[in-house]
Amino acid sequence: MTSPLRLCVRRADTPLPGGICAEVALRIPSDVAIIEEAVELVARHCFATWDAPRRVHFRLRVALTEALANAILYGNGEVEARMVEVRAECRPDAVHVHVTDEGPGFDPATVHDPVTPDDLEVPRGRGLFLIRNLMDDVRFNPPGNSICMTLRRA
């Protein structure tokens, strides 16, 4: 079966303006079945020039999986024609991964951590919590339909 994913990768021997060594861009339809392959593609290129420990690979893969699931399920409402854009900037000191959906956005401040005893049995709401705890920095654009996750190399 031909993959519907189209990956664009730019690499530079010397850092590009802004210190970018490589940039990975990917657009995927809103289909949760594609998440695994998308994560594999992006992670492979992010770690192509970074001999990171296994635990760091796991952190990026978990965070990206959760960000894509949120974008597809809640941002785009699983409407397959709506796309999710992934852009990863590999810099000498960090990897920044942006995930943007076509939804109206949301206020991340309203999503609380589901780890209080009362919330433990709530089946939803752990995705953003995992992202916040596994990445070094997490930011949203003002509408809230684009997340930027940073993983520092040191």
Binding site: V32, I35, E36, A69, L120, E121
Partner: protein, 111 residues
């Protein structure tokens, strides 16, 4: 990825999760457990020894399953989580909600 259910001689239904437990297949696991409950199974072990990854939807499905099993008067245990997966349970404090054993043999001995 697949779920394999088999009955241990001790009377425990062991469900093995191969591959991943994620948003795309979590309903299948919930259906497998529901079917087991409908058939009268009350001692249930979900073994993750062959599982590479569980996402937040998978964790949510386990929370729902835990609640359902308890409502039916059953006993649910988990086993075989690798170091990374166990860290997700600890991070989300779900390690306090589930009875988690290092491997299936240890879990079976605990029923």
């Amino acid at each position: 990825m697949a779920f394999t259910a088999s009955r241990h001689p001790s009377g425990v239904l062991v469900v093995e999760v191969e591959g991943q437990l994620i948003v795309g297949n979590r309903q299948e696991l919930k259906a497998t457990i529901q079917q087991a409950l409908d058939h009268g199974e009350r001692k249930l072990l979900i073994d993750f020894a062959k599982t590479g990854y569980i996402d937040s939807s998978g964790l949510g499905a386990l929370v729902s399953i835990s609640k359902k099993v308890r409502e039916e008067g059953g006993d649910l245990r988990l086993s075989g989580l690798n170091e990374d997966l166990r860290s997700l349970f600890e991070l989300t404090k779900l390690d306090t909600l589930f009875a988690i054993s290092d491997d299936a043999a240890q879990a079976l001995a605990g029923f």
